[in-house]
Symmetry: C3
Subunit: 333 residues, 3 copies
């Protein structure tokens, strides 16, 4: 695999293989597997889990990594083609990225959506451009519309909890957040759950239905894998019998790039904070979130501190899933 | 050992064992000892020695480390329980810390005193709270009131200079500094020297006597280990026959949390800068400081650049002492 | 070798040996060569290539590194001797540097020119001072007037392209840039090319001829190694038959330290941007630059995106050249 990108494009057999490998590496350390190998980590957007889990994972396999972030003491990066660079940006991504890649055996890049044009972000315009600049294996560590590492970790988490593939009821729920957040996680999550063949419901206010391209892709995956996809705007009815509620906030696609308008719409839904009222008395439904999460805004303390919450397990599975990805991409097995 | 915290609580036999191990690792490198092991370093306060010596020490033993600091490109951390996170803080320490810990085999955390409530800081309220969030071995890399790594390094330094335990005369002297500094280093140092059984004098202006809880703990350690503890406000008489003067600035406990008042008191003592006049003509007294130190404010160039000064040896011993701690905590030997 | 500093001072046999070693390590990895060894990287000035290539190189050889930068969460460093440190600088380089060095086996330091006094910067006053503070091998990662790592990488690049030593025509050309840049790269490059025995031309506006001390040193190197050195202010005639144009911007030595005056002079030469017009129709002349480069200011997109450009090869050779330096300095072979 040269490019870990869209979870929808991964061969289901490869997913099985990666998750088995993840489990093997978790149980049986291989501290010499990637000896002498170098992972370059380029963060054009902030990170905590991704940054630390990739560093840890590479080191656990005997390799090493280096990290580049514009917040470090490096020159500002120019990202636009054709720019006359007479301002405050001293280096172009067209040099910086291939140079960094040339010091490494594999590269991870993070660059969140610019949220100016929905079409550009759905096309992952920036990420697909930089992909052409390098000839080393590339890991998408979250782009405008993809977050495959999160989806692999989430899939592993669902497997470990023995949430059924075919009949497991998976709710992806929008939640309130003070900022307009990107679509990468909800898009990847919807595709992950439908690809896993689950009974998936997108639960959100009407303005927050994911873009058509994402909904169609998820529908196709549901059809191919024996799953279902529906939409609901009603928390109470929708949550009945759910195995998983995966909460996340995201921007309204209808008002994409129009921040003040979108903010007004969003403010109507401050009550979309997952709390105990969402769950039936005897519900065993688990709570998932990719983190970071705003407590008492996206989810109440009472839910995230309860046994329902598997957010720490999800986060920990980032480590093992990514180790499997590194192992597979570097060693080809 | 699951938690390296208060130097007072360490079994004297364990201290001997750790310092012998430190010496052994200094002489006989073991570059495979911690192969595949990961140290997570969380800095909620600034660092130079701690950050670099832990990274170096872990690597010298064949392990690896990753570092997280709020000054890096990570989300602001919310530290207060029950917060409604609708402001600029995107992640709670209750998620961030366990996640980081789950990627590592051992964790080091630094969080300086908030200097709002003396009682809270003496109780190490924040540090004891975060300790409960994780299930991995934890190293206190300086909290509100503890700095055990510094104390182990200092103890090793005293041993190497063959400063006698029983009759060695140890002066912990307050010094002027433009800022109100925390109590962690003076508290740990006083406990270290009394626990080592030395003849210890706390030398300071009357407003700068350490809090009762610290003085009592140090007195107990002196009693248990055949040492002495006294207080002096007079530099000249006190320095007579001293083997060590350990300089450090700290906030007045009387004016704790009241910064402008405390600043007025402190300003009276600008002449508390350790210089040549403090030493008798033939004195062989050594000068110690934990660093960073403000030259010509806390200590004169003439003293710190003289042969009296053993501050670089102290700093270097951080490396070996911490390697012993990592080795012991991870391998149990 | 205890100090990698001036390319002019390196024994030509050692250069050959280092470049052969670089090639060997590129072809035949030695992931255990520097096991347990630690490289400290101190950046007092920004970096991208240097920071990442040293980290990667050390790790590829089985060693490890740690990085210190004032932009990280460390105390501000005081650099002036005799300072009364009652301002915002909490630690002196006289402590910080020896401490960092004591945690490492080898040290790399970067500190750009202050551009206040030409004499001080030509003497590399700051760098020669800090050299005396440590007793570990030291690598100059770019000082006021030296950049030996870049020159070794450039030499390797010229060798690989089989650019002839004796008759190869090498143009070092000044280029426009919105800021007054240091002299380290042009000084090192001129010495590298003359030391390699090439037919070297310094191409620049009259105000931008390098300082006498640099010109004399380069002339001596040309004489000793069968090369030539001349000066030209005319792009067209000068480029005739050139094998290499190495572009770089730098401050006018005449107006050194007088930024607004220098800026007015520099503004006259905005047309010194290397573009297609500079090259004869059939010219095979290659384009070099140390990076970072400002596109469409220093060089046009059309040139840097063409086959002429070997800037990525240069940057990649930083890795291998520096690995050879580390290997040689730490293992003595």
């Amino acid at each position: 695999m040269k490019f870990l990108n869209d979870i929808a494009d991964l061969d289901p057999k490869l997913i099985d293989q990666l998750l088995m490998l993840a489990q093997r590496l978790q149980k049986h350390p291989e501290p010499d597997a990637l000896k002498g190998k170098i992972l370059a980590l380029l963060f054009l957007s902030p990170s905590l889990r991704t940054m630390t889990s990739f560093q840890s994972g590479m080191a656990r396999l005997g390799g090493n990594s280096f990290m580049v972030s514009p917040d470090m003491a490096i020159h500002n990066l120019e990202l636009e083609d054709g720019a006359v660079m007479d301002g405050n940006k001293a280096e172009h991504i067209r040099e910086a990225l291939p140079v960094i890649a040339s010091y490494a055996d594999i590269l991870g890049v993070r660059a969140f959506a610019k949220q100016e044009s929905l079409a550009d972000d759905l096309d992952d315009k920036f990420f697909n451009k930089i992909y052409k600049l390098i000839d080393k294996p590339l890991i998408n560590m979250e782009s405008a519309i993809q977050h495959p590492c999160q989806s692999l970790a989430d899939w592993k988490t669902l497997d470990e909890l023995t949430i059924p593939k075919k009949e497991g009821k998976f709710i992806l729920s929008w939640a309130y957040h003070p900022k307009a957040l990107p679509l990468a996680v909800p898009a990847s999550t919807l595709k992950m759950a439908t690809k896993r063949g689950m009974d998936v419901t997108l639960l959100c206010p009407e303005e927050y239905i994911l873009p058509d391209a994402i909904m169609r892709a998820a529908k196709d995956l549901a059809n191919q894998n024996g799953g279902k996809l529906s939409i609901s705007h009603d928390q109470k009815s929708c949550m009945n019998g759910a195995d998983i509620i995966y909460a996340k906030s995201w921007v309204s696609p209808i008002y994409y790039g129009r921040n003040s308008e979108e903010g007004e719409i969003r403010a109507k839904y401050k009550n979309w904070c997952v709390n105990d009222d969402w769950f039936d008395t005897n519900s065993t439904c688990k709570f998932m979130h990719c983190l970071p999460v705003r407590r008492n805004v996206v989810v109440s303390d009472s839910v995230i501190d309860s046994e329902r919450s598997i957010v720490l397990k999800q986060a920990n599975n980032r480590l093992w899933a990514q180790m499997a990805v590194l192992y597979h991409m570097l060693l080809g097995v």
